[in-house]
């Protein structure tokens, strides 16, 4: 019930701010913030923004991918990955979030929504271990 309410709030925020004039958008944001304070929901602001982001990306066909690597992606690799994901998922735009995790040893892990493409060496080792233990 709580998550539904938050999703509805995020949806209302999107409808009142996206595709409207800047001053009207600012007014809507101000009203929304006052509403959250009044209803004591300000502590859940991050969750609402997360829902808003998901709804915004869905509305504008923006693909959000989280890439985990041992080192930051090079600009070239980021560009190639973005193009590849855009083509594969027929997205208008691709947003890449990067995370650093030295446990991966090498390679990278890509998370798109609920889908995970794990091409890291740690995952390969895990697969190898699983096979050897069968």
């Amino acid at each position: 019930m709580k998550s539904v309410d938050l999703k509805n709030l995020a949806h209302i925020l999107l409808e009142t701010t996206d595709g409207v004039a800047e001053n009207e958008s600012n007014k809507s944001l101000k009203d929304f913030a006052q509403y959250l304070v009044k209803k004591n929901l300000i502590s859940q602001f991050d969750e609402i923004i997360s829902e808003y982001s998901a709804l915004y990306n869905k509305k504008h066909n923006i693909l959000e991918a989280t890439v985990t690597k041992t080192t930051p992606l090079t600009d070239k690799a980021k560009q190639e990955l973005s193009e590849a994901l855009k083509n594969k998922y027929k997205a208008n735009e691709v947003t890449i979030k990067e995370k650093i995790d030295s446990k991966l040893i090498g390679g990278m892990k890509i998370k798109i929504g609920d889908t995970v493409v794990d091409n890291s060496l740690s995952n390969s080792l895990y697969q190898l271990e699983t096979q050897l233990l069968k």
Partner: protein, 166 residues
């Protein structure tokens, strides 16, 4: 004859008187002594005869009782022997049953022991295999981590992008 009588001074009157006297004494004796004595003797004789008969009956009864006792004793012995045989038979059956149960139990214990041993052996081998694989994977990870270069990492990233494109 007369001379003989005269010679021996036979007095017929005295003889007759003595005869009568004898008869009287005899009668009195017979009535007061001989008759009760005879009666007593008859009674005694009857008592003795009765006692003898009784003793004979007692003896026969005793003999019959002895025979009955012997017969009962023989029956009791036979019954006791039968009971002993039954008891022995039951004991043998029970012994055989207990022996079979003990054998079954020992067999079961042995089989359980074998199974447990086999299970422990499999577990030990499995644990050893897991440990070995874990060590091999950890060592491989360490070697890969130590030898990981930018070139290899770039190649891995390119492979990932190629897979996405495919």
């Amino acid at each position: 004859m007369d001379s003989i009588i005269s010679t021996f001074h036979v007095d017929w009157h005295a003889i007759i008187a003595q005869a009568i006297n004898f008869a009287l004494i005899y009668t009195v004796l017979w009535y007061f002594a001989l008759k009760p004595l005879k009666k007593l003797m008859d009674e005694r004789s009857a008592t003795i005869t009765g006692g003898l008969d009784n003793a004979k009956k007692q003896e026969e009864l005793l003999k019959a009782q002895q025979e009955e006792y012997d017969k009962t004793l023989a029956n009791a012995r036979a019954e006791a022997q039968t009971i002993m045989k039954d008891v022995k038979k039951d004991a043998e059956a029970k012994r055989a049953q207990l022996l079979a149960a003990a054998q079954d139990e020992s067999k079961q214990i042995l089989e359980n022991g074998k199974k447990q041993l086999e299970s422990e052996k499999v577990k030990m081998l499995d644990d050893a295999k897991k440990e070995l694989v874990s060590l091999v994977v950890a060592a491989t990870g360490k070697v890969l981590g130590d030898n990981m270069s930018e070139k290899i990492d770039t190649k891995l990233v390119e492979d990932s992008i190629t897979k996405i494109k495919a």
